[in-house]
Amino acid sequence: MAILVIAEHDQQSLKAATLHAITAAGKLGGDVHVLVAGHDARGAADAAAKVAGVASVLLAEAPYLAQPTAENMAANALALLPGAYTHVVAAATGYGKNILPRIAARLDVAQISEVIAIDAPDTFVRPIYAGNAFATVQSKDPVKVLTVRTTAFDAAGAGGSAAVTVVPAAPDTGHAKVIAQEIVKSERPELTSARIVISGGRGLGSGENFKMLEALADKLNAAIGASRAAVDAGYVPNDYQVGQTGKIVAPDLYIAIGISGAIQHLAGMKDSKFIVAINKDPDAPIFQVADYGLVGDLFELVPQLTAELG
């Protein structure tokens, strides 16, 4: 029996999130197999084969998998599952969360979301109530289907030499079609894997003022995030959102600028190694979690900080 990891990839390479999922899978006790379902995805499959801890890569290719839907990804995983796997694992990204509940429902088993620790092959810790409590849950199902929080598991390194086996792709479910994608191209590191994250909140006052953060981010090679309030106000797109309902980050350094620190935001960043907060309100809750709080006008302090970093 083995563990199946659903890879997230762009056909040529693996997404960083999958490396974290592979590490989590390695803690479950069993060979780790990685499913790469795509179109012309040999590059991604070869990349997966070189990841430490991977015993086997299964490559399913079909033209309709160039822009896969949840329905088709689930169908391809389900085709491999019967009797062969004890666990199905994916990163708790938008991608993984879209697919895994479908697989679990078809198997008639529970799904366990956002796992942050593995106590035993059937026992997992996961945050509930925006991370204000941790639940330890035990699954009684024959197959455990889990999404894992990438910040809780290290990225698997290189050094693997698994074989890539081509498996037949499942037929197109024909359910839904991706007709457009608007993926924001950015020179910056990805929010969930960046070493430094700079986030802006409502205190910035406008989308225009986020430019100020860009200058600082350039100096630090940081990713830019935002609070839900800033997203709701339309300053930046939703994929900037750090928090319970957005992205969960745990960088070495998190700089919160003009963010008050609502519970739902803290849930997305409080595991960062060091937290800096810049806010004019000395009573803002963000200061309670900050290692270095700086009280004052962000419109003066942020340019000063950018200049100070030379």
């Binding site: 697989i103 330890t136 359910h175 007709i179 994608q181 190694k273 060091f274 309670q288 270095y292």
Partner: protein, 250 residues
């Protein structure tokens, strides 16, 4: 076209929850309860589709304790036409809720189900996808725009690096993200009217669904408190500390 909207009664998002001293769960006694915020967005979207003449009826469904009737009354006050409560004292997990909803969909035959993307208590983010899988329907999760025309739903979704547009034939299922809409407030006349709208009560047994939990919660603990509260006087001190003490910048 009929739209079904599942709604969940959860601890209000403004409440700071406390873990029970015996580690058995979170204290929900005497705590303000509200409709899950993502479900409010789902109701709003359904009601707007009705106002545009695309939907003819909006049915709200909740599963759980008798107290979920309050949540359903809120849905009715926001514009749902009628409500169904699947009443049970059993702790419901997402798979069980998805099965109950599948049974309700079987009875009601809606063309569209709109769910919140996740509930803010268990943060599972599963029920919509599970329901779509059980029904063998297409799904568009994390929606930020929904258009319905000619039996086809065109949905803009929030994905990891941006946006994706999906086209799917009805019947289909949508889960809501934050930016789909801004829910209205219930007006007093509508709250009064909601009291007279029909609310049917059924049960898992009547629907023929086994709702026994699949996951046992062994314990619930409070996360380690972060030691924060440190302050610096100015930018110079901040940079010095980041370089010397934290060593996170060069």
């Amino acid at each position: 076209m009929k739209i079904l909207v599942p709604v969940k009664r959860v601890v209000d998002y403004n409440v700071k929850v406390r873990v029970k001293p015996d580690g058995s769960g979170v204290d929900t006694a005497n705590v303000k309860m509200s409709m899950n915020p993502f479900d409010e967005i789902a109701i709003e979207e359904a009601v707007r589709l009705k106002e545009k003449g695309i939907a003819t009826e909006v049915v709200a469904v909740s599963c759980g304790l008798a107290a979920c009737q309050e949540t359903l009354r809120t849905a009715l006050a926001l514009g749902a036409d009628r409500a169904i409560l699947v009443e049970t004292d059993v702790e419901l997990q997402p798979l069980a809720v998805a099965k109950l909803l599948r049974a309700v969909v079987g009875n009601e035959a809606p063309q569209l189900v709109i769910c919140g993307k996740q509930a803010i208590d268990d943060d599972a983010n599963q029920t919509g996808q599970m329901l779509a899988a059980l029904l063998d329907w297409p799904q568009a999760t994390f929606a930020s725009r929904v258009e319905i025309a000619g039996g086809v739903a065109t949905v803009k979704r929030e994905v990891d690096g941006g946006l994706e547009t999906i086209e799917m034939k009805l019947p289909a299922l949508v889960t809501t993200d934050l930016r789909l809409n801004e829910p209205r407030y219930a007006t007093l006349p509508n709250i009064m009217k909601a009291k007279k709208k029909p609310l049917d009560v059924t049960s898992p047994a009547t629907l023929g669904v086994d709702v026994a939990p699949r996951l046992a919660t062994l314990r619930v603990t409070e996360p380690a408190k972060r030691k924060g509260g440190g302050k610096v006087a100015d930018v110079k001190e901040l940079v010095a500390k980041l370089r010397g003490e934290a060593k996170v910048i060069a």
